[in-house]
Symmetry: C2
Subunit: 230 residues, 2 copies
C-alpha cells in the first residue's frame, strides 16, 4: 500500500485537536499526504460536500473517497495500512477493546478541558477539580491495563491510538497553564500521566504536528475574551 | 471459538437500549450467554468492580475478562467470533468507516429521542422537529452508502451493527408514539427509514430481545411523571 498512485488529502484546521489526531497518525505511519487548511468561518464547498452531516474537520480523502470523525479515521488508517509503521491498535481483541474504551474516555477529558476557557473563576475551579478526577481515573486505568510497572513506556515504534489521544489532548498543557492560570496536570496527583505527556511531547513526530506556541496562546486568549467554550 | 469452555456473561438492565445492542449482537451471532439483570438503583459490587469508571451497563464478561461501552463490545464480539453468524462490520476498511460513522450518528439520534420524555409540549415539539431532521440525514446517508436502490434490504443473514443500532434505537417507536402522542417516524418524510425499522422489528431475533410492551409503557410513563430525561 501507500504506493505512488495513492492520494491522501487531509482537510483540517491548524488548531483543532481532532485534526491533529489524524495528522499525527499519518505521520506515525509514514503516510505521505496533502494538507488543506479550511477556514471554518467560511466553509469551502468541498468541505460541505465531503462532510454534509457535521460540516466539520477533519475530513480524510483517500483516493477520492472522503471520511469523517477523527476516531473513525484513525481506525481506517490502521486497517488500510496495517504494515506501514507501528500498529495503532493492538491485535488482540480484548486489548483493542481496552484501547477503544480509553480513547473514548480521553475524548471526555478533552470535553472537560474546554470548560477551562471561561472568565468565571468559580466555574474554572470546578472544571479543574473534575479534570483532576478524570485524570486520576485515566492514570489508574493506564496502570492496570498498559503500564503495569507504573512507568509509561514511550518510543516512536510503539505509538498507537492512546498515545495519539493523550499527546493531542494534553500536549498543550503548559500553554493552557500559562493562559488560564491553573495547573492542568498535577505531577503530585498524577505522576504517571505527567511523565507520559512530557515524554510524548518531546518526540520529534509530536513536535512536528504541534501548532506554533504564539498562535495557540492567541487562540486561547481570543476564546477567553469571547467567552467561547471549545 | 465459542467452544464448550467459553463463558460469556452479560450484565444488563431490561430497558436499556445500550444493553439491547449487545444482547441482539450475541443472538445474531449465535453466541450462548448468561444474562445478569442489574438493579441500577442499587448497583451490585460486581458491576462496580467490572465498570469502576462509568458504573453502567452493559458489561460483557468473556472468560472472566470484563469490558464496557456498547459499541466497544460490538466490535469485540465481531473480532472475537468472526466466523460465527454474520459479520457485524463489513470487511472493506472504507465501508467499515462508513458503518462506524453512521453508528455514531444513530447514537446522536438516540440522545435526541430522550428529549421526547417531557411534559413541556413546546420542548417536545422542538425535539420532534430535530428528530425528523436527523432522520432525514440518516435516510439520505443510507441511500447513498447502503441502499442505492432506495429500498432497505433486511435479512437475518445480513444483520450488522447498523441494523442493530437502528432496531434498538427506533424499535419501540410505536410505543413511544402512543405514550408521547407524537409521530416518531413519519413515513411521508422518511419512507426508507420507516420500512427499514418495520422490517427489522418483524425479525424473530429482534422480537426476542424486545422488552415486554407493558413494562416499556410503564417505564416511559414513570419517566414522564418524574420528568426524567433519558
Amino acid at each position: 500500500m501507500a504506493e505512488g498512485n495513492e492520494k491522501v488529502v487531509l482537510h483540517g484546521m491548524w488548531g483543532s485537536p481532532y485534526v491533529k489526531r489524524v495528522e499525527l497518525a499519518l505521520k506515525i505511519k509514514g503516510i505521505p499526504f496533502e494538507y488543506v487548511e479550511e477556514d471554518l468561518s467560511n466553509k469551502s464547498p468541498l468541505l460541505l460536500q465531503y462532510n454534509p452531516v457535521h460540516k466539520k474537520v477533519p475530513v480524510l480523502v483517500h483516493n477520492g473517497k472522503p471520511m469523517c470523525e477523527s476516531l473513525v479515521i484513525l481506525e481506517y488508517i490502521d486497517e488500510t495500512w496495517p504494515n506501514l509503521g507501528p500498529q495503532l491498535l493492538p491485535k488482540d481483541p480484548y486489548q483493542r477493546a481496552q484501547v477503544r474504551f480509553w480513547a473514548s474516555y480521553i475524548q471526555e477529558l478533552l470535553d472537560k478541558l474546554g470548560k477551562l476557557i471561561t472568565n468565571d473563576k468559580e466555574a474554572q475551579k470546578k472544571a479543574i477539580e473534575e479534570i483532576y478526577e478524570k485524570q486520576k481515573i485515566l492514570e489508574d486505568g493506564m496502570k492496570e491495563f498498559f503500564f503495569p510497572t507504573g512507568q509509561p513506556e514511550v518510543s516512536v515504534e510503539k505509538l498507537g491510538i492512546l498515545e495519539i489521544m493523550v499527546a493531542v489532548t494534553l500536549g498543550a498543557f503548559k500553554i493552557q497553564e500559562e493562559v488560564f492560570g491553573v495547573k492542568v496536570i498535577d505531577p503530585e496527583k498524577n505522576p504517571l500521566l505527567f511523565s507520559w505527556v512530557n515524554a510524548l511531547i518531546e518526540l520529534p513526530v509530536v513536535k512536528e504536528i504541534a501548532p506554533p506556541r504564539e498562535k495557540v496562546i492567541a487562540l486561547f486568549e481570543f476564546l477567553l475574551q469571547r467567552g467561547i467554550k471549545l
